[in-house]
Each structure stands twice: as structure tokens, then as C-alpha cells.
Symmetry: C2
Subunit: 124 residues, 2 copies
């Protein structure tokens, strides 16, 4: 980041994340908005472990994308913002290879620092 570059506010980061994810550009959102040391925390009981780097988040995202056979629905709320945090609701209705159709409904909580997402946490 150069000193000329404007640091995005939490609201701006939230709006951009929602804009990209509504278009299913999740990997683009992660590439653009996530800090290098971002933590990603799945719902309690999830087989996917906590990861603590952007590279690991991108890899997890690619693995998830690879098993999606068909997307039936993808609805994300407008963000609610408080200080350096924001939350959205996310409904994702997909058929996954060998696992059939699943409708996932989550609250997703994000922490922002210096204009980048440093933590994502999912509650399902």
C-alpha cells in the first residue's frame, strides 16, 4: 500500500464484500479485501479447521467452489456495521457433488483493520 492509497472504511469494505459476493465473486472479494493474516473461523462442529492466512482462505474457497455442482440461490443481506465490525446474513442454496442439495443459512461476522478484513467468522 502506498501512502497515497485511501484506506477504506468498515462500511466501504462491507459494501464491497456484499457487492462482489452477490455476484458470486467470492474469491475476488477475498483477494481484494482480506488481510494477509486473516483468520477464518467456521461454525462450531464444522470439519473445516480455523485457518489464519489469506492463502489458506483462498485455497479453502477454491476447494469449496470445486465441489459445487449447481447454485440454486445466493442471497446476502445489506451489512450492519458497528465500529470496526460488520455482519451480514447469507443464504446459499447449492447442490454439491456427491452430497446433494443443501440450503445453508449463516450469520457472517467480519472484523476490519486498516481497511482490510482480518477475521471472518460463520454462525450456522
Amino acid at each position: 500500500m502506498t501512502t497515497q492509497e485511501k484506506v477504506m472504511t468498515t462500511q466501504e469494505v462491507a459494501n464491497r464484500l456484499v457487492e462482489l459476493c452477490r455476484k458470486s465473486d467470492v474469491l475476488q472479494a477475498q483477494e481484494e479485501l482480506f488481510a494477509d493474516n486473516v483468520s477464518s473461523i467456521e461454525p462450531a462442529g464444522s470439519p473445516t479447521p480455523v485457518v489464519n492466512s489469506k492463502a489458506a482462505v483462498l485455497e479453502k474457497g477454491k476447494q469449496f467452489a470445486a465441489i459445487i455442482e449447481e447454485v440454486h440461490g445466493n442471497e446476502i443481506s445489506d451489512p450492519v456495521v458497528a465500529g470496526n465490525r460488520f455482519a451480514v446474513s447469507w443464504m446459499f442454496d447449492v447442490t454439491m457433488k456427491g452430497q446433494g442439495r443443501q440450503k445453508m443459512e449463516e450469520i457472517c461476522l467480519y472484523d476490519v483493520k486498516d481497511g482490510k478484513i482480518v477475521s471472518e467468522q460463520f454462525f450456522m
Copy 2:
């Protein structure tokens, strides 16, 4: 609860909580919407411990209300709802006895079961 009584949906519980808390009727909201065994989880590092009953939540609420000298601002977002969960952003700007003025900004996450809030968790 009688069998005639309609169980509120998560969206209805969320709307009612926001309606009451915007009027600063927090104790009324807890009395009306919280399950007897509700868990209340404060932000990481908070001196207030986790409590696991409606009676304890009400007591905590009364203690907090007792130290508030003046409310300068109380803004709550519309809820975002996913399945049996919802979240709001909450900005609370108050002067507390002996502690001066503090502006608190939190994401509040609620879990609903059988039309009652069974967990509240604050991220500040």
C-alpha cells in the same frame, strides 16, 4: 405457553427486540423474549462473566441500568436474519457514574429456539 399460543418466527422475535430496545425498553425485551435458560456472552476481555439464565441476565441488565447517568445516543440497526439466528449493530453512547462518557459499538448476535432467544453474544 398454551398450545393455542403462536410461536414467533426468528424474524418476528428480531423485530420485537429491535422495537423495544430502540425505546430503551431492554428489560422489557429480555422479560418478554428471553428463554429461562438463555446464555449471555459478553465481548472477549469483558469483566462481566457469561451467565446462563434469564434471572441472571435481568440482574445484569438492572445493574447496568443503575450506573447509567445519561444516555446521549442509542441506535440499533434493522436485524439481519439467517435461519434461527439474527444480528444487529448497536451504538450506545452513555455517561456512566464515575466512568465518564463512553460510546459502545457492538454487533449483537442472537439465537432463537421455539420463539425465544436462547443466546445473546456481543462483539465489541
